[in-house]
Amino acid sequence: MDKNVLQSIAGVEIYPIISFVIFFLFFLGLLLYVVRARRPHLDAMSQLPLRDGLTPDEETLTYHF
């Protein structure tokens, strides 16, 4: 039955190719994203929940510089 179902959609041949391309690009992009992410940035991001007050650097910001 699935064959009938799919055959009735115009240009169905392109579907598997599109599906593969979407998948490939999605996970390739994701991989590049995390591989290229730099350690200091990731560390800073992962510290966000733990930083409640001002950092020593930020304490100085109350003043004009």
Binding site: M1, V5, S8, V34, S46, P49, E58, L61, H64
Partner: protein, 738 residues
């Protein structure tokens, strides 16, 4: 909030070299009161929902617990339980955690206190309306989406208020980058909105009655796309966001791998949305959609376990604290339960496993490992962590919290193990053939009676878990009374500089681009979740003409339609399926397997998901009217030992014909081929059919008036699955059958 005016263009270049911008630290106040309010609602509705759950559990062991009234019968109590624990307990838990963490991760107060209040009270009113309407039998019957159309609209509005408040807060943030927890909140908001709107498409018949815009197979696909993703995006993604905030907080160390959390997020939301059809394996859903659901369910193990490992490894070097800190104990079990449930889920999606597990208590065990372990325990952990901080004091008693932990853990075991046992036992008994090739247990009731002791043990597990929650209630009340609520918490953070002035962002990596742009992140997340939904649904809707139509399948007669609406009202589909799967063990027991073309007039579909009682798709014409009459009045008279509750009120209540013409018109509008003007003949047709049933009953000395509800229900039950017997000739819409 002070931000230096953007300097003229000519001055930008020197500024970038040496940012000499006037920058101040802002002072602002976190709104803790709203967090506390959602916390109270979480505890209150949690205990209420669990109490209803315990009642439902014992009703299955002891039918007397149905208390012989309509409002307290299992069919109406079970949706009350599921809605209460999902949307009231976990829902308020989500909002409690989000309102606390979002403010702190954005370094900003909530966008609007008024919106917060509207959100809070709006959500509680929705819960209250569910609490009233579900026991009264106002239900769409679609699981976890039972609430009728006016409440659906209210949910949409309140959800928009939540999103507005959240995005407003994000827009006013003082932290340029969005932490991964917020990504999960954004994906939750967007996906739940899409799911709720698509699945709730219904045409009102009256104030609290509607018919689904979808019929049969399509309704089933939309419902389980929704049902599965309600688990994904209401019970999982928001709690993962909360895990990524509260677990590092409680362990006082950052998440194990931020890289892994990025992979976790994107791959989880991308893959999850495709897996819905695994709820419909071996049903009349097209096979390609079933296979797609299986494949994506298996893939789902990777991101789920990535997240679980990330959570557990965050405790690296902090395991000594787990021994002493109840908050961490709860979190460890929660994350472990998440890991177990997300491994088991894909395994249950394998067709060979599903063949045994589906429709049994195995599934009930599976969801409760997730609900009691993952959602429940993470909620308890958040409450124990938040309460002392909101009230500026210490937790009243760690000992009690530890006792809660052990009661809860043992409760989960007492709940899950008997249910696994019951599931295996019954699933295998249904399929057991004897040496002569006949069903070993042809009487369905035999397979039920076998597992009743397990139902008692499950109830005890529920009581243990619930008593733990009561300990928490006491502990939190004592904690609150020993401190004072810090309703507004003062905080400081430097104002954000415009991005153009910050050097980092001139040469930053492209991936950071999305981490500081909530709007784009939202768009990408929406695209990721829409792909899966679209791929599954578009063909299924395009194929409307290709669902093999069966010439002999006709629309329900008006009385049968009334009976069907009673079947929905009484929640019969909570215990009875209408889907004979193509197994010999099922065709032997029930008859011909169910075909997609048989459901084209079913709005909503009523395939069910659990067989506490036998399948009913081929029950039509199987027994005389009198059997149904006696069985509904006292199930044990026909099936000694039956755990089905009696339905005496069906014999007293009159059939409500007032909305029947409107029902016919609505169905005509949706494409049901009733002849023109049939709405005006419908009542007469119904009365005529009712008179026929009453005459039949009279022959067996059963006196009933033709306007009683039981007559309509009998009419529906006797119609079920009989159409294909009328004329066995099956035709197929173009193209021709394979």
């Amino acid at each position: 909030m002070e931000v230096a005016p953007t300097p003229p263009l000519t001055a930008v270049a020197p500024l970038l070299v040496q940012p000499q911008v006037s920058r101040t630290v802002d002072e602002f106040f976190y709104d803790n009161r709203i967090v506390r309010d959602f916390g109270i609602a979480t505890v209150f509705w949690g205990i209420a929902g669990m109490l209803v759950g315990v009642l439902a559990a014992f009703q299955l062991a002891q039918p007397e617990a149905n208390m012989h009234t309509a409002v307290t019968t299992f069919g109406r109590i079970r949706p009350l339980h599921t809605n209460a624990v999902i949307f009231a307990f976990v829902g308020n838990g989500i909002f409690m955690g989000v309102y606390y963490s979002l403010q702190r991760l954005c370094k900003a107060a909530m966008y609007s206190k008024t919106l917060s209040k509207i959100h809070f009270w709006g959500w509680q009113l929705i819960i209250l309306s569910a609490l009233i309407s579900l026991p009264l039998g106002y239900t769409t019957s679609k699981e976890y989406a039972e609430l009728e159309w006016p409440i659906d609209i209210a949910i949409t509005l309140v959800w928009v208020v939540f999103g507005w408040n959240m995005f407003g807060t994000i827009a006013r943030r003082r932290e340029r980058h969005l932490y991964v927890g917020i990504w999960f909140y954004i994906a939750t908001f967007l996906t739940v909105a899409v799911l709720h709107i698509v699945n709730s498409m219904e045409v009102p018949v009256s104030f609290m009655k509607s018919y689904s815009m979808y019929a049969g197979v399509q309704d089933a696909l939309v419902q389980w796309w929704y049902g599965h993703n309600a688990v994904a995006f209401f019970l999982t993604t928001p709690y993962l966001g909360l895990m990524y905030y509260f677990l590092p907080k409680a362990a006082e160390r950052p998440v194990y791998s931020y890289r892994l959390s990025i992979i976790h997020f994107w791959s989880l939301i991308f893959i999850y949305i495709w897996a819905g059809p695994h709820h419909l394996l071996y049903t009349a859903l097209p096979d390609w959609a079933q296979s797609l659901g299986v494949a994506f369910s298996i893939m789902l193990i990777a991101p789920s376990w990535g997240g679980m490992i990330n959570g557990l490894l965050t405790l690296r070097g902090a395991w000594d604290k787990v021994r002493t800190e109840p908050v961490l104990k709860f979190m460890v079990v929660a994350v472990t339960a998440y890991g177990m449930a997300t491994f088991e889920g894909p395994m249950l999606s394998l067709k060979n496993v599903n063949a045994i597990a589906h429709f049994t208590d195995w599934i009930v065990a599976h969801v409760h490992v997730g609900a009691l372990g993952w959602n429940g325990f993470l909620t308890f952990a958040m409450l124990y962590w938040l309460w002392p901080r909101l009230y500026r004091t210490e937790l009243y008693s760690k000992k009690l919290a530890n006792a809660h932990f052990w009661l809860g853990t043992i409760g989960i075991l007492f709940y899950a193990l008997p249910m696994y046992w019951a599931g295996f036992t019954q699933g295998l008994m249904w399929k057991q053939f004897n040496q002569e090739g006949m069903l070993q247990y042809p009487n369905f009731l035999e397979t039920v009676l076998q597992i009743v002791p397990m139902y008692y043990m499950r109830g005890i597990g529920g009581v243990l878990y619930l008593s733990g929650a009561f300990l928490m209630l006491y502990n939190l009340i004592k904690t609150a009374s020993s401190g004072t609520l810090l309703a507004s918490e003062k905080a400081h953070a430097p104002a954000l500089l415009p991005a153009s002035l910050v050097e980092e962002h001139q040469g930053g990596h492209w991936h950071r681009w999305i981490e500081r742009r909530p709007a784009q992140l939202a768009v990408f997340a929406t695209v990721a979740i829409l792909i899966g939904g679209a791929v599954e649904m578009v063909p299924t809707f395009l194929v409307k003409s290709n669902v093999p139509t069966i010439a002999s399948v006709k629309p329900y007669r008006p009385l049968e339609l009334q009976g069907r609406d009673l079947y929905i009202k009484e929640g019969c589909s909570n215990c009875h399926t209408q889907m004979v799967r193509p197994f010999r063990s099922e065709t032997e027991r029930y008859g011909e397997y169910s075909k997609a073309g048989e459901f084209v007039y079913d709005r909503p579909f009523l395939w069910g998901s659990k067989r506490t009682g036998p399948d009913l798709h081929r029950v039509g014409a199987k027994y005389p009217h009198s059997w149904h009459y006696n069985h509904m009045l006292d199930p044990t008279s026909m099936s000694p030992g039956s755990i089905m509750p009696p339905y005496p009120w069906l014999f007293d209540n009159d059939i409500d014909y007032s909305t029947l013409p409107k029902k016919i018109r609505v169905l005509q509008g949706l494409g049901t081929p009733y002849p023109a003007g049939f709405d005006q003949q419908a009542v007469a047709d119904a009365r005529q059919q009712a008179d026929g049933i009453v005459r039949e009953l009279k022959k067996e000395d059963l006196d009933v008036k033709s306007d009683k509800e039981i007559v309509a229900l009998i009419a529906y039950l006797q119609r079920l699955g009989t159409d294909i017997k009328v004329k066995p000739e099956v035709t197929q819409a173009a193209p021709a059958a394979q």
